[in-house]
Amino acid sequence: MSNVVRVQMENFDLNKEYNRLITKNSTCGAVLLFSGLVRDFIPPQQLVSLELEHYPLMTETMLENLSMQASVRWELQRTTIIHRTGKLLPGDQIVLVGVSSAHRTDAFEAAQFIMDKLKTSAPFWKKETLKPNPDSKPESYWVSAKDSDEQLARRW
């Protein structure tokens, strides 16, 4: 069992993360990578950038706990959670959850569990800078937490 947690400004490489998740002894039957991207709005509203703040140390602790909880609940081989911070642009990769296991159901469920819990318990906050229309000045807002995310986290 090997869990990796990284909170970083830099981008991440999906190929590299995929290869790390595969165990060498060929018992790995499923690798699942989820990558979340910074999404733009529907025109004419336009996202200029996103600023991600976090609570250093607590974020890492919470993400390590999530990996551990998932590893207790499902038969996993390796897990990876990467979350970026700082300024991001539309289309940028923001989060990665990777899981490897012998069987696909463990991988699918564990990755979904980690993402659902990450969204409602890891101390990250997004601030959006957007243009309500192409001619307006950019305005910044803190993103509000969604009830739908809370509901998804409660199913586990």
Binding site: L52, T61, V95, L118, S121, A122, P123, K126
Partner: protein
């Protein structure tokens, strides 16, 4: 002494990222809030917000969580990562 941190929207509204609370003789988060509000009366309304989350030493906590000198307490709005 207790280190208190504020994040995101809350940090901006208070105009304060962290403060060090001295001479606190209470036992829990609720009492710490009252203590801080006495020193910063204009923060009262913000501290009474139901949605405010609390962490003690990097673990989620609640208003009745016990605290002692040397602890790190954080207040923040609901999280929006991922």
């Amino acid at each position: 002494m207790i280190k208190v941190c504020f994040f995101a929207d809350l940090r901006e509204r208070l105009g304060c990222a962290e403060l060090f609370v001295q001479d606190f003789s209470g036992e829990n988060i609720n009492q710490l809030k009252t203590f801080i509000v006495k020193q910063h009366p204009h923060w009262e309304k913000i501290f009474l917000e139901k949605k405010l989350l609390i962490a003690v030493n990097h673990a989620m906590a609640s208003n009745d969580t016990a605290i002692v000198a040397g602890d790190e307490v954080a207040f923040f709005p609901p999280v929006t990562g991922g």
